[in-house]
């Protein structure tokens, strides 16, 4: 796969995730006031090994600010996404994705390169961290931990399932068009 193609894939991924996020923000799910922030799926699947972390942090910060503008919550998502990108980098050194030839690290984490178990731990841990940060910063000083537990918990599970199904979908698409 040429370098140009990779950027195209990232770009379409980015657009897909952000528009999915906006649609979810519109479609009101009123089950325990839960919602999900699936756009973090884009940042979860960025390349990790030998890349410029500073660039990713800056990108995350600006995308976070844009999401904040959509949700009228200045700074909350920007804070949470920068934290997520930094922790992701640390976590990936503990659970490295393996490339096809079994000797090297894969360039980017995915369901395919990590396996279901590792990928689940990776995604669940980071989504849990992200959602707790967002909901706690939002409810700063107003609510106790236990009143918002169902909201946070359901949101995490929803995000996890949507991110995993997005992965499976992209694996199917890349198999058929032989981009891997």
């Amino acid at each position: 796969m040429s370098k140009k193609n990779i950027w195209l894939v990232y770009f379409t991924n980015f657009i897909a995730y952000i528009s999915l996020q906006v649609i979810i923000g519109q479609a009101s799910i009123h089950f325990y006031r839960s919602t999900c922030f699936v756009y973090i799926g884009f940042f979860l699947c960025l390349p990790w090994y030998k890349t410029n972390l500073i660039l990713q942090l800056l990108l995350g910060f600006f995308v976070g600010l844009i999401i904040d503008a959509f949700y009228d919550s200045l700074g909350i998502h920007a804070f949470a996404i920068v934290l997520l990108i930094y922790l992701r980098n640390l976590l990936l050194h503990l659970l490295p994705p393996i490339a096809v030839n079994d000797y090297e690290y894969a360039a980017r984490p995915s369901l395919y390169s990590m396996g279901f178990k590792k990928f689940s731990i990776y995604v669940l841990f980071l989504t849990a961290m992200y959602h707790t940060t967002v909901f706690f910063l939002d409810a700063w000083g107003f609510m106790s931990f236990f009143t918002m537990l169902p909201q946070v918990f359901i949101s995490i599970i929803l995000s996890y399932f949507i991110i995993c199904s997005f992965q499976i979908l992209s694996a199917i698409v890349s198999n058929t068009s032989s981009i891997r």
């Binding site: 923000g25 009101s28 006031r33 919550s73 804070f79 930094y86 700063w140 107003f142 609510m143």
Partner: protein, 274 residues
């Protein structure tokens, strides 16, 4: 010096991380940023257009419901006109009568999940909306306008923990303050009702009209829970909010033509005594 630079370079990722995080936290907690970045919310033209696009897509299934609502409202208004014709209120000044005007608008974004919730409307400064105006529906109050752009406006919902609305109980005419507690989007608290008064479950709560945003008598909700502990000065009252925030579609923005006059008078009086 060289060592310092090398140190900074070695830990450049960590430092970028820390700088961005502290900037993010200061954005969240410093109110100065909120005023400085006031165009950085959903009344922004770009974000408003995106919301309007998605909102228009999701509108068609609700058209029947909206049609029914408007018919009901029409009937109610006709009834009121008839009542007014039967017993016209001659004491009312012509200007006071026309004090409030309504601007109909459509909700294009709405949330109930946060502790600070906002709505976005598809009308802005071009239709005559300015920050500070009240927003209502036919069933009750919604909130007040926070910021406007040319074609969109952001509204602070009643479901926002910083919003205080002046209210009164209907049979007893007791003044109080409505505030949302941040947990249940169906209930709000009624504060500052002193303990010597009598409050019962089922009492109506309406706006008092003292804040110059709303006129008197817009429904807010119905008292659903009254509690009086032995040592507290005030009642502990929960109110079922009459507006259903999860299905909000069409709202009216209230234009109070006498608001500047009232506020300047109050300001003059206040400065005289202080």
């Amino acid at each position: 010096m060289k060592k310092l630079f090398r140190f900074l370079y070695e830990y450049r990722n960590l430092f970028t991380f820390l700088v961005l995080e502290s900037f993010g936290l200061s954005l969240v907690f410093n109110q100065n940023f909120h005023t400085r970045f006031k165009h950085f919310n959903s009344s922004n033209l770009l974000i408003g257009s995106v919301y309007e696009f998605f909102s228009n897509m999701g509108q068609y299934p609700h058209l029947k419901e909206v049609y029914r609502q408007i018919l009901n409202e029409n009937a109610y208004l006709k009834e009121q006109i008839l009542q007014n014709r039967m017993q016209p209120d001659k004491n009312l000044d012509k200007l006071i009568e026309n004090q409030f005007k309504f601007i109909p608008a459509q909700v294009i974004n709405n949330s109930i999940i946060h502790t600070k919730n906002y709505l976005t409307l598809n009308k802005g400064a071009a239709s005559g909306i300015i920050p500070g105006m009240g927003v209502i529906t036919e069933s009750g109050i919604v909130g007040s306008v926070k910021s406007v752009s040319e074609h969109f406006s952001t509204v602070i919902s009643l479901l926002h923990t910083d919003v205080l609305v002046s209210a009164k109980l209907i049979p007893s005419n007791v003044m109080g303050t409505i505030r949302w507690s941040g947990c249940n989007p169906l209930q709000a608290q009624l504060l500052y009702i002193p303990r010597h008064l009598k409050v019962e479950v089922g009492d109506k709560v309406v706006t008092s009209g003292y804040d110059a945003i709303f006129y008197t008598g817009i429904p807010i909700g119905i008292v659903s829970h009254v509690e009086l502990s032995k040592e507290s000065l005030f009642y502990n009252i929960l109110v079922d909010i009459s507006t259903d925030f999860s299905t909000l579609q069409h709202v009216y923005v209230l234009v109070n033509s006498l608001k500047p006059e009232k506020e300047s008078l109050e300001c003059v009086t206040k400065s005289y005594y202080e």
